[in-house]
Symmetry: C2
Subunit: 224 residues, 2 copies
DNA sequence: AATATGTTTTAGGTATCCCAAAATAATATC
DNA sequence: GATATTATTTTGGGATACCTAAAACATATT
């Protein structure tokens, strides 16, 4: 193993992890956009990641990158820290669910394995984070998921919210105030193709609501 | 105010703070030794600190440095974080008193003011840290102290341990196992000048013990 | 085959921190 | 007060880690 990895490297690996959950490989452009840097910077960094010993990504010019096993480990470790921290900040320190992300994003790079161990002991080795996302196990195994993006559902379908993206505080507040939280049951009523709007009912509250793509893309459901 | 300060800058300011608690000014050499860098590096950094806007230190060539009000604020903020974190790690996460320092040293640079606020709420705004050190107030006021270094006591004198240095895990274990913890009452029995050894009794346990300068310099007492 | 698009290379920039060796200033000693 | 010792500063430079614009190049599209 080599020396300790920079926070920036962990950020890149996290992003590549996210982009390669469904896709085979992540392109330079996607990564650049997600991290708000130039494509040239991404090429540069990605080549450095591939040159690490052991390599953190598998890189082929013009063909994008995929994480190596080592790189995935780092990404999952960081993700595990992030999600455990979010839960911890909420449960023990009273952070609201839209406040946790920013703090966790800084702390995730800095806490020791012992810290992780201690908060796991306090939290009881949880399987899902504050926003419903699965937490990689201690052995860095990511549980298989059976979730679909709400964005892809169509009228007549019914789903249970399993998780929502954690990184936009404003959106999280909006979701919470509309009962769009993990566990909520949704019935898709209508779909308008040109603007990708989805009209749906939150079962229980009986509320009907129309959500645009910017919202539905952030919500993940289990079909019923 | 300028941009955010690097962790290294906070480290330098913390060291300068500690060195100027009793002395007027801190010398380049002292700082270099404490941080294990060359004197040239210290001159360099100290000049950069003095060139900040507002300046963080007051620097005169060949005369050492003192913190400005702004620099002291930063040092005290960092110190407050450190001591609150140590307490927090012990009380809430079950860290032992020799484990807390290293973790706090990393976290102190990273936590938000909100995090500070939250752990204060949980801990009940404590005035002293895990090792007895005073914690700067939220307004960054350091309470006046009335402590003497055990190193300077002489036979016949009696003192109450108020605090011990927190940065050497091995020493902390040794101290704990000998009852040399805040609150313990000491009676100085003997002093040998050539090696600076102090023989003393821990009142209560009745234990007699001989401590060298490396130990006595790390313990601070209130005279009785 | 030509064009459009996305990626990589080149060449270089900035920030932050560090250091050895030479020069200089402060201080201690004669 | 002059000299020697010690501490500090300057000089000149190195390392790392990140980033970028513009030019060159590869891939995909038509």
């Amino acid at each position: 193993m080599e020396g300790v990895l920079s926070e920036r490297v962990e950020d890149y690996l996290k992003v590549i992890y996210r982009l390669t959950v469904d896709e085979e490989r992540a392109s330079t452009g996607e990564i650049a956009q997600t991290l708000a840097v130039s494509p040239a910077s991404v090429t540069d960094m990605v080549q450095r990641l591939a040159a690490e010993d052991p390599p953190l990504v598998e890189y082929r010019k013009h063909k994008g990158v995929a994480l190596t096993e080592e790189g995935e480990k780092v990404a999952l470790e960081t993700l595990r820290h992030h999600r455990l921290l979010e839960l911890f900040l909420h449960e023990l320190l009273g952070y609201s669910w839209d406040q946790v992300h920013e703090e966790a994003d800084r702390l995730e790079h800095v806490i020791s394995e012992y810290f992780e161990e201690r908060i796991v002991a306090v939290l009881g080795d949880p399987e899902r984070g504050l926003h419903g996302e699965p937490i990689p196990s201690e052995e860095l195994h990511m549980p298989a998921q059976n979730e679909f993006c709400l964005h892809d559902l169509r009228p007549g379908q019914t789903g249970l919210i399993r998780s929502v993206r954690d990184d936009d505080p404003g959106l999280l507040q909006y979701l919470e105030s509309n009962g769009l939280v993990p566990g909520a049951k949704l019935e898709i009523l209508d779909y308008t193709p040109y603007d990708n709007n989805l009209r749906l009912k939150v079962v229980g509250s009986g509320q009907e609501i129309v959500l645009g793509a910017a919202v539905t893309a952030q919500i993940f459901v289990e079909l019923e």
